[in-house]
Amino acid sequence: MDTTSIAQTRTPIISNVLLATVIFVIVEVMFFAGLLSAYAVIRAGAGLNWIPPSDVRLPVESTLINTGFLIASGILMVLTVIWFNKFKDKSRKAFWGTVVLGAIFVVWQGQEWLKLLSLGMTIGTGVFAATFYLLIGAHGLHAISAILAMLYIILVLQKRCRIDQLQSIMVYWLFIVGIWPVIYRMVYF
């Protein structure tokens, strides 16, 4: 039996796009696990000295609301995939909702950063500020990249978008949504 006939008899159990995304997300999980582990060790070593620079208070409550937006966008992303085959219009609206809520999260975070910077907390202020900006910034960059990918699907692919492409972006976005509460809990408290 040659390779062509094997390919004809066996259909792939998972699309290449989705499998590649899952492997990529596994790598990303390790990247964040490394960052968070380093953060935990540095923080534990600092003991009671682990406090923000004077006059600076981290926006815990405001970020909690923002976390709500991110989680809501994750739910909408799942609905986008569920509705894709049967309810195209609802799926498209849910996808737009995901993008908008994700963008709100990123913009809100950016605004919080500007406030912190205006209070004098820069990346060079100390270990506290450096680890804060590194962790939150790494997450923010991932969120921005996912939003750009979603915009590419909506604006460029449009109706040519396949279900496996949507599933791939869902896996990536759910990773971004899922890792955020862990980062929030560790960094803001």
Partner: protein, 74 residues
């Protein structure tokens, strides 16, 4: 010869702290040492769990596909 290797191995474990051969050996805080141990454990287990989970999921999907493609007895 084998016993000598084991003794050397055990000695190496004992002197690791004195040699400051880990990231937190120079820090006197117990919390720091614990954070290092926990994070090492987590970093070791997460990739195994994720890769294992992925392989199991692919195996599960394959089994499901095979069941679907089997001809029915009726």
């Amino acid at each position: 010869m084998k016993n000598i290797s084991i003794i050397w191995g055990l000695l190496a474990l004992i002197i690791a702290n004195d040699a400051w051969s880990c990231a937190v050996c120079g820090v006197a805080l117990e919390a720091s040492r614990l954070a290092f141990i926990y994070s090492t454990a987590i970093l070791s287990l997460i990739p195994l769990a994720m890769i294992g989970g992925l392989i199991y999921y692919l195996y599960y999907l394959d089994k499901l596909n095979q069941k679907k493609s089997e001809p029915s007895d009726l």
